[in-house]
Amino acid sequence: MKRLVSLLFIGALALLLLYVVSKMPPMGEPTNPTMTHVVPRYLEKSEGEAHARNVVTGVIINYRGFDTLGEVTVIYCALAAVLAVLGREKRGRIRDYVELSGIPSSVIVRTMVALVVPFIVLFSLYVILHGEMSPGGGFQGGAVIGASMIIFTTVFGLHLSSVKVPLKVRAALEGSAVITFFLVGIAGILGGGNFLAYAWPRVSQSLQPALVTWLTVLVEVGIGLGGAMVFVSILFAMVREEGADEPLA
């Protein structure tokens, strides 16, 4: 009975949503309401105002900086919540299911992962640093680093990957996204403008474009490293087996 009611509810919702979709304006038309309000300004002026050739980066870091600052705080809070639930690993030897299972992964997999992971990290640095002028940015690059660490941890185990990315480094860099963004916002106040405003009355106009570009890159690097370390810490907290902490003798 309960299942039937749930199925009926889902079916009715699907019909309703499809009806609404059929009444929406056709996809891809330049005259759609989504294309007309604020978007032309972003597209036409972002190069002169946000000094980022990639409009998406300009929107994220510059026009909607407050939004992104809050969102960066959200991932930091997620890390805090995960650590509050699962606990941070202690120093010393930590084990996970890869080591406890006793079945090593095959030579091919280990060799391939050891070969590929450095290049993945290199590529993610490229994605982070070129976020200003090509598709990419801090979030994407951070996610790529996190994914590479996931591959590494599933194959080589938690102990080795926690040696590669030690707790000290992670603890120092986890907050870098929030801190960088906040400091750049403060720089806006010091320059005589508003918080997170990238237009400073006290700085000469000729310097501003380069300054905005470099601050954008700085924020991207902060978000990239911070996001990556947050992902890695969440991963480590998750794959660690209960009671698997062993003090290093």
Partner: protein
């Protein structure tokens, strides 16, 4: 009737209902979390396809490219932050699931309710 022309939207809606089905009907918590992820993905697909423009190019300024040909950058940046929030939600939900499994030894919702009743009664 725009349903055929808007089939990207329609697929997103169907995906949303698939995810909702998993969240409501599945008893395994991991499958519920997967369902939440499917719902999130459907919303991302929907918003990204709203931002599409016919024959559009990526919103990156290149010499000699007319800005009016670019696709809508706003949904892309919203989704970019949305994906990271979705990852955070998934991480938190999965860690709670790990805690539940350590406590009760099961991820079945019905059994979890039963255990809770036994502990209370």
């Amino acid at each position: 009737m725009n349903l055929w022309h808007n089939f990207h939207y329609a697929v997103a809606m169907v995906l949303f209902c698939v995810g909702l089905y998993a969240v409501i009907m599945r008893r395994n918590i991991i499958k519920k979390i997967i369902g939440i992820n499917i719902m999130e993905t459907s919303v991302f697909l929907f918003l990204i396809s709203i931002g599409y423009r016919k024959g559009g190019v990526a919103p990156v300024h290149v010499e000699g490219l007319d800005p009016s040909r670019m696709v809508n950058p706003l949904p892309q940046s919203l989704i970019l932050t949305g994906i990271v929030v979705a990852v955070s939600i998934t991480a938190l939900a999965l860690s709670l699931a790990i805690l539940l499994y350590r406590q009760f030894g099961t991820l079945d919702v019905n059994r979890l309710f039963r255990e809770e009743e036994e502990e209370a009664g």
